[in-house]
């Protein structure tokens, strides 16, 4: 299979200045600055196939953005190798830059006081998009994202969600083959999140583009990504299918049970996590699931019973709460 992204033992360390609070310490740090080496990304490796949509998950400061910035050529890796579409990103070759895009949910790249259309013209020149390709692509994107006349209003007059949409149109005018999306839905309302989500899926389908996406909203990841890479403390904790994540990281399942004779104490079966009217949620160790279910069915008058993996948010929370795996501590 052809790989759009290949990352091998990629590292990035930053020197961070450090000092205690207070005037005395400030003066001291003038004379001798203490720095600490922070491993933002610590020897990660993964491949992404062409056309794949991969979710990049991790808490704040996990190293997601640093990795995206190395892959888009903004940061020089300290060590290791990254290749995107066969190019070494840090060389910032024009052929490479013309085939990728980076969208950051909290940054704005359009001219603030002008309608987005003017900024699009700038991008046309910078990316050397032939005129005959430019207008159809632009209009198609405008239609796909349902942007309409917003591109004629000064960007500063748009709402956050509207701005994100015109921003995305601008980032895709050159039809990039690889999309790095850093929290593209951050701060947007649910409808707008959905809109952008379905657009990314659509773009991926239409053009076979490869997408690497970070998001704080699990809904984004669940809707878009067959595969997730979980990164924490600069290391990869998990790389695989989303469903697999739950199986790997949780030792529990939840049993939802509704009883015919209403509320009863079921704490003998497992830990009660929720009680919603007649429906009780019990958390049981995975290995016990079958036995507990059989006991419930035998001993209680059960109306309805559901065995489920815990919600993905809980799984992620659990993963992030974990310490660094032993083998990664060198």
């Amino acid at each position: 299979m052809e790989h759009a992204v290949r990352v091998a033992e990629l590292r990035k360390t930053f020197d961070v200045a450090e000092r205690e609070p207070g005037l005395k310490e400030s003066v001291k740090s003038l004379i001798r600055r203490r720095t600490r080496e922070v491993k933002a990304v610590d020897a990660i490796s993964f491949d992404i196939a062409s056309g794949e949509v991969v979710g990049f998950l991790g808490p704040n400061g996990a190293g997601k953005t640093t990795t995206l910035k190395m892959l888009s050529g903004l940061l020089y890796p300290t060590d290791g190798e990254a290749r995107v579409l066969g190019h070494i990103p840090s060389k910032r070759e024009r052929d490479f830059l013309r085939r990728i895009t980076l969208v950051m949910g909290n940054r704005n790249q359009l001219q603030w006081d002008l309608p987005a259309l003017d900024s699009y013209e700038l991008n046309r020149a910078i990316y050397r998009i032939p005129r005959e390709d430019f207008a159809p692509t632009r209009d198609e994107l405008i239609e796909l994202l349902d942007v309409g006349d917003l591109v004629r209003k000064p960007v500063r007059q748009l709402s956050l969600g509207e701005r994100m949409k015109v921003e995305i149109v601008g980032s895709l005018l050159h039809r990039p083959q690889v999309l790095f999306l850093d929290a593209p839905t951050i701060g947007l309302d649910v409808t707008m999140q959905k809109r952008i989500r379905s657009f990314v899926a659509d773009y991926n389908q239409r053009y076979g583009a490869t997408v690497l996406l970070t998001s704080h909203y699990m809904a984004d990841v669940e809707a878009l990504c067959q595969r997730v890479i979980v990164i924490h403390h600069g290391s990869i904790l998990f790389d695989g299918r989303l469903a697999e994540l739950a199986r790997t990281f949780t030792a529990h399942k939840t049993i939802e049970v509704a009883l015919a004779d209403g509320v009863r104490d079921l704490s003998a079966y497992g830990e009660i996590t929720q009680r919603d009217g007649d429906v009780v949620t019990i958390r049981v160790p995975k290995v016990e699931t079958a036995r507990v279910t059989a006991r419930l069915l035998a001993e209680q008058e059960v109306l309805d019973l559901n065995v489920e993996d815990p919600p993905i948010e809980d799984v992620i929370e659990l993963v992030f709460a974990q310490e660094r795996p032993e083998q990664r501590q060198e």
């Binding site: 640093t66 052929d95 909290n106 013209e121 700038l122 850093d182």
Partner: protein, 261 residues
């Protein structure tokens, strides 16, 4: 040349941006008028006591003033706004987008802004220069005019290099604003030919901050004072400075970390 096309487009967009703030034009007109009046009054005061200053007559010094205003206008129209934006972008981590574009990053960061209302200084500087020249009896030869244009261009390049080096330092040093303010002060020394200053200051405003090349040398050209050695030195220094600046900028980029989000 795509870089030129991009530069032109950014210029157009910059003008569009500025046209939305027409009140700036009035403010600029006012500021320029004050600066010009002060400059002329000081000159008149000096020449009420003497007929020449270090070999320069009053009309010749009016030319120097004109060129200083003209160059100051060029700096504030184009060079300074781009460089201060660069310093801001580095500090706020907003340089990212400029660096992911398939165009020379140095070109991009140098052409993104234009303060079109500062053109007032370009115009008033030209007028002052014209008035000064009209009072010089010897007139300006074609060769002098050519040397003047060349010297002005070289001076502009050197000032640009100076600014880009300063802005690049902001990859390591967060607060470069004091240097920006310092430049405005130091640039005022260009009102007088650098020959009147003591040695240390003369060298500083020639090679450290290339104001002598940007103002005095073009003024020498237009008043038939320029010798060819000075012009050669200007060409050589501009080339060296430009090469160094480009290298330093690229070196700085390697150290760009961006304010992480």
């Amino acid at each position: 040349m795509n870089a030129l096309r991009v530069t032109w487009l950014f210029f157009k967009v910059g003008v569009l941006n500025e046209l939305q703030y027409r009140v700036n034009f009035v403010v600029q007109l006012f500021q320029s008028a004050i600066a010009l009046t002060v400059g002329l009054v000081v000159l008149a005061l000096v020449y009420s006591h003497t007929d020449e200053l270090n070999g320069w007559s009053q009309p010749e010094l009016v030319c120097v003033l004109g060129i200083q205003i003209l160059m100051g206008g060029a700096i504030k129209t184009y060079i300074q706004p781009n460089m201060t934006r660069l310093i801001d972008d580095v500090r706020e981590g907003k340089l990212d987008y400029a660096l992911t574009k398939p165009e020379d990053a140095q070109v991009l960061v140098s052409v993104r802004e234009v303060r079109i209302w500062q053109v007032v200084d370009l115009v008033s500087g030209s007028i002052v220069l014209g008035v000064g020249l009209s009072e010089i009896s010897t007139g300006v030869g074609a060769l002098d005019a050519l040397a003047f244009a060349g010297a002005l261009l070289l001076g502009g390049v050197m000032i640009y290099c100076f600014w880009l080096v300063i802005a690049t330092v902001s990859f390591w040093v967060v607060n470069m604003w004091t240097v920006v303010e310092l430049f405005d002060g130091v640039f005022q020394t260009g009102r007088w030919p650098v020959g009147i200053y003591p040695g240390w200051l003369r060298y500083s405003v020639t090679f450290l901050v290339p104001i002598a090349f940007a103002v005095t040398v073009p003024a020498e050209a237009v008043t038939s004072r320029l010798d060819w050695q000075t012009l050669v030195l200007a060409v050589g220094f501009a080339a060296v400075l430009f090469t160094f600046t480009r290298w330093f900028w690229r070196y700085g980029l390697r150290n760009y970390t961006g304010a992480s989000a």
